[in-house]
Symmetry: D2
Subunit: 322 residues, 4 copies
């Protein structure tokens, strides 16, 4: 199995299943991507106990081109090579051909991350059910370097990292409360084990679960088309996304390069690495290029937008000179 696996965090039953799946090969007439076959079923570790693994995929860069050529008909045959066509589609936001490829992932993730993730509605999900089964004693504890402090000027932001006693106390609290809540969960369930009491009934699983903390790990199968996968990655791999979902999106971004390298390249050039200029920002850039003076006050941009614009353009705000 590739090095990406950290066997330590994996359930032995899952490991055995993965070995069996990887040992089985079939012949197919379907579009196949060798770089995906290489890592199929293998978990990529994320956070302290989470993972992403590819369970199945449909299509490749060629499938996008194939669908686009049905739309454009004979006109496009041989005229454009695949790379050019994919870049054209991405540039002009012709999104439907990207819906023609599909990927299915098995993801293990903390519940508070799952709650953000599920907001992407155009996807298929089967989550582990805590009505049917008992949740394991597994929860996310941040590494010390990710114990971010609350930003004082951005309500959803982080700012610096907690250190010293404050950091130690936070880690103690997170670990202690998660452990106690899970132990009490087991107690209320009257779970199998040394503390099991045959004289007690045990609370229904669907109720007992409410005592668990939001960093408890859950898992699901998640299937999505490539267009919506790109949308997910563009939002969640972004700097504004919370670190704990961003690390999942980064693994997904790496998977993208394996799966559909031409699409991944176009996605970086036209979506991730690009810039959306507002109408007033465009007016400022036009003036600046024409050598005219520009000042924030009459730009139609707020001071914050003004700073952000010049930050991205790599220049000192000219107004500071004026």
């Amino acid at each position: 199995m590739p090095e990406s696996t950290t066997a330590a965090v994996l359930d032995p039953a899952l490991l055995a299943e993965i070995e069996a799946l990887r040992a089985t090969t079939s012949a197919t007439r379907r579009a196949t991507v060798q770089a995906m076959e290489d890592i199929l079923h293998v978990p990529f570790p994320v956070l302290d106990r989470g993972f992403i693994r590819v369970v199945d995929y449909m299509g490749d860069d060629g499938a996008i081109v194939q669908a686009a050529r049905v739309s454009y008909g004979r006109g496009t045959r041989q005229v454009r090579e695949d790379r050019g066509l994919i870049r054209y589609l991405m540039r002009h936001r012709h999104t439907t051909p990207f819906e023609m490829a599909e990927i299915k992932l098995h993801v293990k993730l903390p519940i508070f991350v799952a709650r953000q993730w599920i907001r992407h509605r155009t996807a298929n999900v089967n989550e582990y059910s805590a009505r049917y089964s008992v949740l394991d004693r597994e929860f996310y504890i941040p590494a010390p370097e990710h114990l971010a402090a609350q930003s004082s000027d951005n309500r959803q932001g982080r700012e610096g990292v907690l250190t010293g006693d404050e950091a130690a106390e936070v880690l103690d609290i997170l670990r202690g409360d998660a452990l106690r809540c899970h132990a009490n969960y087991d107690r209320m369930l009257n779970a199998e084990g040394p503390d099991h009491d045959p004289a007690r009934q045990g609370l229904a699983r669907e109720l007992a679960r409410m005592n668990l903390t939001l960093n408890t790990y859950t898992q699901w199968y998640w299937k999505i088309d490539l267009h919506n996968f790109l949308h997910f990655v563009s939002l969640r791999a972004d700097d504004h996304a919370q670190y704990e979902i961003r690390v999942y999106a980064q693994v997904m971004s790496d998977l993208l390069e394996r799966w559909v390298p031409l699409t991944a390249e176009a996605f970086q050039d036209y979506r991730v690495g690009g810039l959306v200029l507002s109408r007033p920002a465009l007016a400022v850039v036009r003036k600046a290029l024409a050598g005219e003076a520009v000042v924030q006050a009459d730009s139609g941009l707020s001071p914050r937008e003004w700073r952000e614009l010049w930050g991205v353009l790599g220049e000192e705000p000219p107004a500071s000179a004026g």
Copy 2:
């Protein structure tokens, strides 16, 4: 304000907002339902601290008829009266006219209920963000009569109610863990209050929230079309649904009768109160009606399906007589 309100559980700021909204009336040419106007903005209490309140609605029974008549054209004018047409649509699963009405609710609910609810993807949601704001110290504690025991033969079921010491202990655990986790949440945030320490930074809100338990209340605005609203109610007001989401679905079922009474009646007759017979079950019923002997063994039904069928048909299983 109607009696449905239990002012006790409501935030004073929300109460003031509701009073202001209810005091404002405008003239409109849109379809209007008086029974909905009567309760608009008013919270209906659910569980110990939750509520549902209607924030807006679009359309009425007439809007469904209006859309259906566009489909069927002149042919249907005056031929069928509204009630008959709505029943026809419901019976034949012509679902698109029911998508022509829309409702928007403000719901306060425990997070573990929210996690089930959000699985209905064809809806619009804005949830309170615990990245931006601090969650109140409010969590769901079941009433003693809802402290269900785990069913021993149905993995997702309940069976009986915990009593005595076991019940008391469960309530202590739920209350104690929720309180402690929330107090530690405040502590990690270094929240305003007597314990605030200006020398500490405070953990980022987006991280601190992971320490909360799944019975913590959240809230959201939720907007859905009538067709998908019916689907939600049919699944979640069902006996197999967990009690804690079923009580929300029951309020929604009551709202249905206010909002679209003809649709609500047809929904009860054709969806909620009806029965889906499988192909083998239909064969059994046909034989029984023809006076032929029927036995489970050659019916194609499992023993469980056989029992369930005769239960719904209100008869002793005839096989028991054979």
Copy 3:
């Protein structure tokens, strides 16, 4: 290539592409279905010039079981075998595991059929664009045995078949108008060919297409998950569906048996071959089974519903005896 192909109606370029695709085989670790590999890429003829061919698929019956077992957790392992679990999911309308398989078809179909088909929104589509490319001179002409007459008592129904002079005239009209409209389309485009006039500009393709008749063939790639595929088949293979879309749904129903035989069997037993009893119809059946007299007048059923009910139950309406 399997016998399903009628090479006559296929574009030679498409035939060559199919031969090339079928000659290419790769090794894969993904779930593979031999019965689908056997017919992959091969067009199944539908109507006079249409076809359906499978371009790709993801998952099999096992993928549904795999996703369901994530939901149900350890509880279900080994307890239920695959067939039983799939039947359980179908019976209880647990639909999400069926979303975990996906199929992609290439379909050639008349525009008036495409307009019905596209109403199924939860799917991905890339259609041949008549803005970019010129539509071929191909249109659907019904076989004489499908020249249905308008039903006099059912506004959307057919009743009998036209014969003799009337049939002949209809076929002449359909063929004549389609040919003339297409010839005029070519003329307005100033298309390549003997009539091309270098002195004329030619009307824009996006405008000229409006002159074509609705039986002109179009084509598209269409991708959908198994749950929505089943929904499509259950609506469109039904007797109430128009013949011209039903024949496509029947091919899709056959594909279902190849692809996911356990799901196909459960689908027939619980969805296609079953019966939905309304609340009043259920009351009638209960009374009849208990030996009580039942009459239409106080059943809550309309005369039409009454007749339909007893038709399905295989009995004479008992009221006729009373």
Copy 4:
């Protein structure tokens, strides 16, 4: 009724219905927009015989703010005024609050336009059914100034306008073929009228319709949330959209200003009037602003992208000087 109506093209039955609807006013506690009430139910003419009329709406700019404030919680109260918050949401692509408003339109449009329109899947539709009812003899004939010629260098584009004999011939063909096809449709239906022959059966409506041309008018009720409405307008009011759908999108853009003026303004500033720079285009702009030389050859942009970039920036391509 406002001047927007051209009574000439309207069915008298529809006119009477509109008069009745406009004469009825109710009191409501819902959010109401006076500028929408003013034009509610009134058809705005589009093309030669089409229209758009608002049948219902839910929410206003305030509803978007209200939903956003639930998400952001107390933190945002009073801090930002409505306009600033809406601009913030639009700039950062926080799209869910815009889903909290909804609009329902009645649209009459040619079938070839309807086929483009329906590709927007996140909407609710009830279309006039040609299986149930007979389509009127109404079809779109372009005004002479819109008889666009096919572009020779852009496969989906228009270039200039046909004139003289060629234009006259095209108009004759479009009118003649549509009339003949519709007359033959009536003939096959054995429609009521002077030519009705009681001895003939008449072809089923669902079949006869296939003889109609794609410029025949159809109509539907169409309901969509504001977020998806904006997406529709941004794609279809764009210069690359076909003229015949663009004119509908322009009416929708006007409706936007009536309905949600703050959202409409932000939409113009951040979406319609803005510019998306790709990663290489951004690099070019940064260099140019820094006074460095830029040439197309090493820019990573194609010659066409290079020309388009400088066109939008309002400058001569500097490479032309190098």
